[in-house]
Amino acid sequence: MRNMFAETLYREATENPDIYVVVADISPVGNMARFSSEYPERFINVGVAEQSMIGICAGLALKGCQPFAYTIATFSLYRPFEMVRDDLCYQNLPVTVVGMGAGVIYSDHGGTHHTMEDIAVAGAIPNMQIVSPCDPAEVAEATRWCARQKNGPVYLRLGKSGEPDLTKDAEPWEFGKLRALRRGNDVCILSYGVVSKTAVDLADRFAAIGKSATVYSSHTLKPLDRDGIIEALKHHNHVVVIEEHVPQGGLAAQTKQLAWDIQARCRLDTFTLQDDFIHNFGRHPDMLAAHGLSLSRIAQRVGLD
């Protein structure tokens, strides 16, 4: 994902001299290195100084520029939180805060490098928009949108590397709308971000027993496609939410809220990270499994095993 982000941003920045990339000591992979050498005046490395990263982006945007703040998710959102809130959101500036390696992707780095509550944290701030693409192609769509939008601040939640292509046959990407990766009649699976691969795999498991599943990339977490989710709740007997985020304040919690609001009659299963710091130092799938987000556990809990 980060390579596709860098590649797309490079293309956008080549065409738009107002795009600045302000990073906090993160290795410039792929085209990010090319951008930094070709446009050194628009590539700023603040070092390990994330508060100034956000403040500088705010100042650039106050002068009409289109900045991106880019580093590992926990350091782009949590460390400079008040700058994100006051400088970007309160002033409603078109700055994209890129959280790379969100969720528990930095599994073996420990809890200091995990971003498990970012949707709740970012989503609580007025004016903030949140986009979390499910695969590299969706990263390209989302990055292009971020580079051109003037609505206000965006938190762009990214994975890291090696994510599979999930959107080859998907409907076109549109900001603020659920995107069907496939359509079915019996079950609807809502997910976003890297863990969307588990949603697709779960749909295959349903297909194997003759049940067709709709799989949605709920890439825009704020504003959430409330109408789309309500339709999904109304037209499927079984809705499953899978997200790499704590239970509070994310897609699962909001889907439950919508289900209550419309008195939905479907079965609703939600799978999230635990509300817990788990001291597991394995790989990403190990960490997800420790939180209960393995395909086998989810399959069992939805009645497939």
């Binding site: 603040v46 403040g55 500088i56 100042g59 650039l60 945007a61 002068k63 006051d86 400088d87 002033q91």
Partner: protein
Amino acid sequence: MTLPGNGFDIRQARERCRRYRRRILDISQQVQALHIGSAYSCTEVVDCFYHGLMRRNPDGCSPDTFLMSKGHGCMIQYVILEEDGILSRADLDGYCKADGHLGVHPDYGIPGIAAATGSLGHGLSMACGMALAERGRKTGGRIYVVLSDGEVQEGSTWEAVLMASSLRLDNLIAAVDNNDLQSLGRTSVTHPSLYPLVDKFTAFGWEVAEVDGHDSEAIFGAVTNRGGGRPFMLVAKTTKGKGVSYMENVPIWHYRSPSLDEYRRAIDELESAR
């Protein structure tokens, strides 16, 4: 006396600053509290930035930007913007009222206000971003920013200090309103190692000058005589509540409105200083 360059007349500056203090006193009688001491502390610095240093295009607009990082001192900015015709008398009459749009801290979107401040330690980073944008667009625009000395305790301020010099932002001109007071006492007592400030900013690669922050001529001279090529920091030695004897260096006047009797005494002092 008129100094060369921008036609900055010192006698007129003194008269303006007296007028501004008087206007702030008048507004103080409309509200229960305001940051009067903080505004009086930086009156000469802000006046000199606006009327001595920031340039004016023929259309009246300035290519330069003023940012009040110590947002609580914004009463002085409001009264300057009022006198310069950017804010109206009605705007200031609505200060901190339900149907007004001027608050205790400057709000983005208000005419003449370049950024929302109030939480300390934000302004200098935003000023760096603005300076970077002006440089990128080759506009020649300069960014003037005023910080409090309490604000210099914020880690985020030092991140920005480090970045401004690393980026060689020579279009960034900052001032620290060094009145040595914050809510709970003297900054030099709570943080003795932070002083002298000049050494700290110099060590971080800034060009620095220290002046009497109530001496308009000295402020103007220090900034106009800077060498350039890097960001400039003016350490303005000031007195909190300057101009009204019973307010000077008395912490309670950080955020308080004078009683009617106190108001009259203050007016007498300001008028007798003409």
